[in-house]
């Protein structure tokens, strides 16, 4: 088995050759950077245009300085905001354009009592036609225990897209150190991640940054951030913690006022397809797991890889699967003389060996159909590949893993 870091002299030579070859390519970097930016600007412009065209049936109504978008309404029809509320329009069609000042006022209105200063706001109207507006509000809030910067930003993401999924995940502690992080689902289906971390990942200054990032089922994206200092950077720490606790942060992010602001923004473009995204390994894995196992954790992404941590009452056990079309050229490496060939040409190889750590074991059933479609399932006697064994053997038997791997379900969507 290939060792991790360039222990093979060939790998060293390959790395050197790549550096020599790669380093030989050069181009006009300034021009390339400029063309990249131009492409980004164009993308934004197209998004705006797409929205303008796609919402032709929606008209603007002005309500005491607040604009409300109502489907099928009459132009310039004035509706008191209380009437709007009592009519209970669907959240997806209520959109509130906000001025810079209104963004600030909304934030102040939603905060507890205290002193406000250094207010700044950015409304839903962009000064520059080429740019998508990025509404936000920020101020310094002092509840009596020390001045603290608080900011809110409102945007839209593709529901179910990468950004939406990322917002609903705590970052890996390996990359972002933090004291606490929790993702929870609210009653309306929104997912909120409250992160209690630091302004500087390397903690060179101990300014705390707490944030709540909320994504609704329709892709409204609200981020609230607060610091225990009067500014993000370059201001001394004024208090032990930022002023709002996780529950208050969540409430602020979940306030309906922000949803309406988000609706006034152009819809995001659908994300480009990632290779393998026509597969749905996670859904299939969860569906094919033997009955009686409790799933305590699972991967967040669909695609050609998935894992689930299961518990049969005797300890956690990670099960992972790779679904790979067109692996025929690797067949000889993967299926040796001890492998089995089924009547339909599907090859099956089973291995039961040590895992990455100490007393971990890793059981693997590798299968490849005659046309090169490969499903490989591994199970561990631990909750992750990085932690010690929690039990003697994985929670699945080889027979169960084999039955799962050979199921036609993996390929039903591709």
């Amino acid at each position: 088995m290939f060792a991790d870091q360039h222990e093979d002299p060939f790998e060293e030579r390959l790395a050197a050759a790549l550096h020599e070859t790669g380093g030989g390519f050069d181009t006009d970097r300034t021009a390339l950077a400029a063309r990249g930016e131009a492409r980004g600007r164009r993308t934004r412009f197209v998004r705006r245009a797409a929205v303008a065209g796609g919402t032709a049936g929606v008209v603007l109504a002005c309500v005491g300085g607040v604009l409300v978008l109502r489907p099928g309404g009459t132009a310039t029809e004035a509706v008191p905001s209380s009437a709007t509320a009592s009519a209970k329009p669907k959240p997806s069609v209520t959109a509130t354009h906000a001025t810079d000042e209104q963004m600030i006022e909304t934030l102040k209105h939603l905060l507890p009592k205290g002193d406000f200063s250094e207010e700044r706001g950015q409304g839903t109207e962009s000064a520059d036609d080429r740019k998508v507006p990025a509404p936000s509000a920020g101020l310094v809030f002092d509840d009596g225990d020390g001045a603290a910067a608080i900011g809110v930003a409102v945007g839209r993401v593709q529901p179910g897209g990468t950004e939406a999924r990322q917002a609903a995940q705590c970052p890996d502690r390996v990359f972002v150190p933090y004291d606490a992080c929790k993702t929870s689902r609210l009653a309306d289906g929104s997912v909120v991640t409250v992160l209690q971390g630091y302004e500087y990942p390397d903690r060179r200054v101990d300014t705390k940054l707490w944030s709540a990032e909320l994504v609704t089922p329709t892709g409204q994206h609200i981020t609230v951030s607060e610091w225990n200092a009067a500014a993000e950077k370059d201001k001394p720490v004024t208090r032990t913690d930022p002023p709002l606790d996780p529950a208050q942060l969540t409430r602020l992010a979940a306030a309906k006022e922000w949803r309406a602001v988000a609706n006034a923004l152009p819809a995001p473009l659908p994300e480009p397809e990632l290779p393998g995204s026509d597969l749905h390994a996670r859904t299939d894995l969860l569906a094919l797991l033997p009955k009686g196992l409790k799933v305590t954790d699972k991967s967040s992404d669909e695609g050609d890889y998935a894992y689930a941590v299961v518990d049969d009452g005797k300890g956690r056990s990670m099960v992972q699967v790779n679904v790979q079309p067109d692996m025929l050229d690797a067949a000889d490496d993967l299926f040796g003389s001890s492998s089995e060939t089924l009547p339909d040409g599907t090859r099956v190889a089973v291995s039961q060996g040590p895992g990455d750590r100490g007393d971990q074991v890793m059981w693997t059933v590798d299968t490849m159909r005659a046309d090169g479609r490969r499903v490989v399932i591994s199970a561990f006697n631990a909750g992750t590949q990085n932690e010690p064994a929690t039990r003697e053997t994985p929670a699945l038997t080889i027979a169960q893993m084999r039955k799962m791997a050979l199921d036609a379900r993996w390929w039903s969507g591709s």
Binding site: M1, F2, D4, Q5, H6, D8, F10, E11, R13, L14, A15, A16, A17, L18, H19, E20, T21, G22, G23, G24, F25, D26, T27, R29, T30, L32, A33, R35, G36, E37, A38, R39, G40, R41, T43, R44, Q122, K131, A134, E163, F175, V176, P201, P272, E273, L274, P275, G276, D301, D304, Y305, Y307, Q320, N322, Q324, P325, D326, D329, D333, V376
Partner: protein, 168 residues
């Protein structure tokens, strides 16, 4: 985008464009036109999301991920099945074509796109197996398999003593 953010982006793009371009040249096995296009696309996507990206700890690594994914998406659109390119790309005469360069690019071109991405991430970007897996949205096991397979193939194409091509 606020002016400060826009300036920050411009600074970032100018600083990273060269490296991204060189990575793209390796990913495309020397197709410099496609490489330029991929970098533009990647920078464009980063521009659109800069306000969020600038908040992540390592925008440079993020940009590299975007580039690799843009490359893989491009490959997938071109062909629904991942396989090594049958027709080798025209290697543009940018820079000096040393024997090493030509041989290496030719060998890279013969790898399936995802394997090539693994090689570039592992040996050019110096990413760990786990980091590479993250970029490719694959498992560490899948990356190991691809890496082993690609190394075997490159060894066959380049010979054990790849350094013999290198300039003294």
């Amino acid at each position: 985008m606020r002016k400060a953010r826009a300036d920050e982006y411009a600074e970032f793009a100018a600083a990273r464009a060269g490296h991204l371009y060189r990575s793209a040249c390796l990913l495309t096995a020397g197709d410099t036109h496609l490489a330029e296009d991929l970098v533009q696309e990647a920078l464009g996507r980063i521009y659109v999301r800069w306000s969020r990206i600038s908040l992540v700890g390592n925008p440079a690594a993020y940009a590299q991920t975007v580039l690799v994914r843009v490359f893989l998406t491009h490959q997938r659109r071109r062909s629904s099945r991942e396989r090594a390119t049958d027709v080798l790309p025209e290697v543009a005469a940018a820079g000096v074509d040393t024997p090493l360069r030509l041989t290496l690019l030719d060998a890279l071109a013969r790898l399936p796109a995802k394997d090539r991405a693994v090689v570039v991430l592992r040996y050019w970007e110096d990413r760990s197996i786990e980091e590479t897996a993250g970029v490719l949205n694959a498992s560490a096991a899948a990356v190991r398999t691809r890496c082993t397979r690609a190394l075997k193939q490159l060894r066959g194409l380049l010979g054990e003593d790849i350094g013999a091509y290198a300039r003294p």
